[in-house]
Point group: C2
Chain length 181, copies 2
DNA sequence: CTCGTATGTTGCGCCTGTCAACATACGCGC
DNA sequence: GCGCGTATGTTGACAGGCGCAACATACGAG
């Protein structure tokens, strides 16, 4: 076969994808608590139990959403890094990180909110690791000296903290970007 | 009366408190999703509907947990600030912040996870404001110059980001503390 | 064309949140 | 001391969600 998990098209035409799209809409509209297997099924136009052919549980659906989020974040970071000159790379990545958090607050919170554990969701762990890798490599490139480790961690934490503050609407994206050194 | 909301002792002996304690235990053990009005009632030894005499809804219970969290955080920050010399105050507060996040990860995530909105929970807004005030005043005290605003925000974001990384178990508390300048 | 299997459906039990009606115990006024 | 009003807790019910099991269907291989 081909559909095993990745994205075939049987009766419905790619229900897995449709469910993720529907769930993402629910997530953006009402936060994690609003993401429901049944409501996603309803939006996709299938019966309340059809999702179980693609997701073992509600948490598996949430994990898929978080995985997509990490993939999108990684894409955004890669793009930003490729577009920027070596000197301004870190700032560019930081900006991309903040814009991601600002543009999809609910997904950002799902990714870092601890509702889904990476253990037991290999795809999620991989996507998350890849996104962090993109960030870490650029941070390390800028600080190759002795205290690099610490400075890299500081830069990461700063951006991450700003992103959370943005996602929580405690500061707005502009003020956050102004803090990126 | 006296019990209106604050903490009386009628039949049960202070059910409101007992429910908060029980819910806190559930929160620590299983995260937000494990916090259930019915389970809290069970732990407190009352019927499944008794909690409604003290909390209007599940979200109100979660808001109470977050409020308690912000009060504890503020207490920890105040204590740390009082114990430290003026020069090392910011670092001391940062350490207290990180230790709080490390000691009660689930509550930290509830406080900043966006599941409960401050709007509609005045107590929560007040407690959260007070905790941030404690942090902000010390940050500002250390950076009274022109770019103070920006530097204060950077310091805040750094600590906050480290705390999230600690709560998410992406780094351990020791490494985080080493980043506090 | 037939058959196996991936996909989707129907129906169910259990759990939760929440409402409504009822029961009970506390303390105030007499 | 005593009865009553009210804050508190209980019982019962309903809707909605999760996840299981049995069933139905459509696709592709041969």
């Amino acid at each position: 076969m081909s559909t095993s998990d990745g994205g075939g098209a049987y009766h419905h035409g790619d229900l897995r994808r449709s469910l993720i799209v529907a769930a993402h809409a629910l997530l953006r509209a009402g936060g994690v608590e609003a993401v429901t297997l049944r409501e996603a099924a309803r939006l996709a136009g299938v019966s309340h139990n059809a999702p179980y052919r693609h997701f073992a549980s509600r948490e598996a659906l949430l994990a898929a959403l978080a995985t997509e989020g990490f993939r999108a974040l990684r894409q955004a970071l890669d793009d930003a890094g490729r577009r920027a000159e070596p000197g301004g790379r870190l700032t560019a990545l930081g900006r991309a990180y903040l814009r991601f958090a600002d543009a999809d607050r609910a997904t950002f919170r799902l990714m870092f909110g601890g509702v889904v554990e990476e253990a037991g969701h290999p795809d999620l762990a991989e996507a998350s690791g890849a996104a962090f890798g993109a960030l870490r490599s650029v941070v390390a490139e800028r600080e190759p000296s002795a205290g690099a480790e610490r400075e890299a961690l500081r830069a990461w934490a700063l951006v991450h903290g700003l992103a959370h503050l943005v996602a929580d609407r405690q500061i707005d994206a502009e003020r956050a970007e102004a803090c990126l050194t």
